[in-house]
């Protein structure tokens, strides 16, 4: 690994000042599971690494206004075990528990995961389906970024230079909403998803859909929402025809990248199948 300078401030204010002073040559480190590999492989060559491990306030996981606030430095393991997270949606806790292995989950953080913007990651998918909003702060201002706007491209976010991810806020779910996360793993259980699907739906007493969110991972350069598929379900009952149509529309919204886990056509076909399975589970 190339030499670099390491700073580990005690306060958020100090962290933001350091970042503002030299945003181009400063890389933020949360858990470090991805960054350390990227530095070992010489793909990232920072002059300075800003470590956030002393900012305990960013580890908080709390219920807020019937929704959730998830601190950027909360680890996947802590989020998977968290009572507030499980209480909001068991599927969200299960999503964090589905990431890699126990060692990665204990070290890697929510904020690091989102800022890394790997499109095959698990948490962004379920967080998108739960209408998550990222809160980022710079030395000068704070802003809320709906997760769909956070993911700009492969490994690229819309965070501005000098901005630090503080937390993700999740609004309350509609009454009776049901959520699931499906991860297609044809190889090994510790792998990245070939494709993954999160679905959140709610129905009225007559069984008609009043809320639908479908998000997909591993299905394009960014984790994505399948808006047309969602719209196609509104007002309808979850019968075979509605589910199949939504699954086809979800697959059409994908733009998969061919890699070792399959061709683009294969992943698109799998996106339809796993969307169908997810919808049948929550229907």
């Amino acid at each position: 690994m190339r030499p670099f300078d390491y700073v580990e401030p005690e306060t958020l204010e100090e962290s933001l000042e350091i970042l503002a002073a030299d945003p181009d040559d400063t890389v933020v480190m949360a858990g470090g599971t991805s960054l350390v590999i990227l530095m070992k492989q010489d793909l990232v060559r920072p002059a300075r690494v800003l470590g956030l491990r002393r900012l305990g306030e960013l580890r908080e996981i709390a219920t807020a206004d019937e929704g959730l606030g998830l601190g950027a430095m909360a680890t996947h393991g802590a989020l998977a075990r968290s009572r507030p997270v499980r209480g909001h949606a068991a599927a969200l806790a299960a999503t964090f528990a589905a990431v890699a292995t126990v060692r990665i989950r204990e070290q890697a953080t929510l904020g690091g995961n989102l800022a890394h913007a790997d499109p095959a990651q698990d948490p962004p998918v379920t967080l998108l389906a739960l209408d998550g909003v990222a809160v980022a702060r710079s030395r000068f201002s704070e802003r809320r970024i709906p997760l769909e706007a956070l993911f700009a491209d492969l490994f690229e976010t819309s965070l501005e230079p000098g901005e630090l991810l503080l937390r993700v806020e999740i609004p309350p779910l509609p009454a009776g909403a049901r959520a699931t996360y499906k991860k297609f793993l044809p190889g090994t259980l510790d792998d990245y998803a070939t494709v993954s699907v999160a679905a959140v739906v709610a129905t009225d007493p007559a069984g008609a859909c009043v809320h639908a969110r479908i998000a997909l991972g591993g299905a394009g350069p960014v984790p994505l929402r399948a808006h047309e598929a969602e719209r196609s379900l509104m007002g309808r009952r979850f019968d075979d025809a509605a589910i199949r149509e939504a699954a086809m529309l979800a697959a059409a919204a994908t733009d998969p990248i061919e890699d070792l886990r399959g061709s683009a056509d294969y992943k698109r076909a799998m996106a339809a199948i796993w969307t169908e399975r997810a919808l049948r589970e929550v229907a």
Binding site: M1, R2, P3, F4, D5, Y6, V7, E8, G32, T33, V36, I37, M39, K40, V49, G51, R53, G77, A100, T101, V102, R103, I104, E106, Q107, T188, L189, D190
Partner: protein, 150 residues
């Protein structure tokens, strides 16, 4: 480039060293502190050979900067005394041995966190510790035996 004085407990003994920012915990343990029971395998956090416990949680020493354990309690295979070791011998929980220290460190963390770990939890935790001799059945049996012996 920057140098950092770090203090942590290694197997309950105090450590006070100065390291360059880019020093990995794995290299600090093996090369500077002589704890070679922690093995270097894939170097990308996948194989589990370098598993150590940081404040009780299993982590990959190859993915941690040494500075990240400042103020923590680190446990390596050298500091592990557990019914697991006898159980691994009794059940044939290893063949070539290269993965054994990582298997034991992870299994010990599991039984500390979940003394009544189910078979599913054993498999979930050990999934990240690869055994290229494919000795998984013996490993899982050994962990179950150590759990039941408590």
């Amino acid at each position: 480039m920057s140098q950092h004085r770090i203090r942590f407990a290694l197997n309950d003994a105090p450590i006070d060293v100065t390291v360059p920012a880019e020093r990995l915990l794995l290299d600090l343990l093996r090369e500077d502190l002589g704890k070679t029971g922690t093995k270097d395998g894939c170097s990308v956090g996948v194989c589990g050979l370098c598993a150590v416990q940081v404040d009780g949680a299993p982590m990959s020493a190859c993915l941690l900067l040494a500075t990240q354990v400042d103020g923590t309690k680190v446990r390596t295979i050298e500091g592990l005394i557990s019914p697991l070791q006898d159980a691994f011998i009794d059940e044939g929980g290893f063949q070539c041995g290269i993965c054994t220290s990582g298997q034991l460190v992870t299994a010990d963390a599991l039984l500390r966190a979940k003394p009544d770990a189910t078979e599913a939890e054993i498999n979930d935790w050990q999934m990240g510790n690869l055994c290229r001799c494919t000795g998984y059945y013996g490993i899982a049996r050994a962990i179950g035996k150590a759990r039941d012996a408590r």
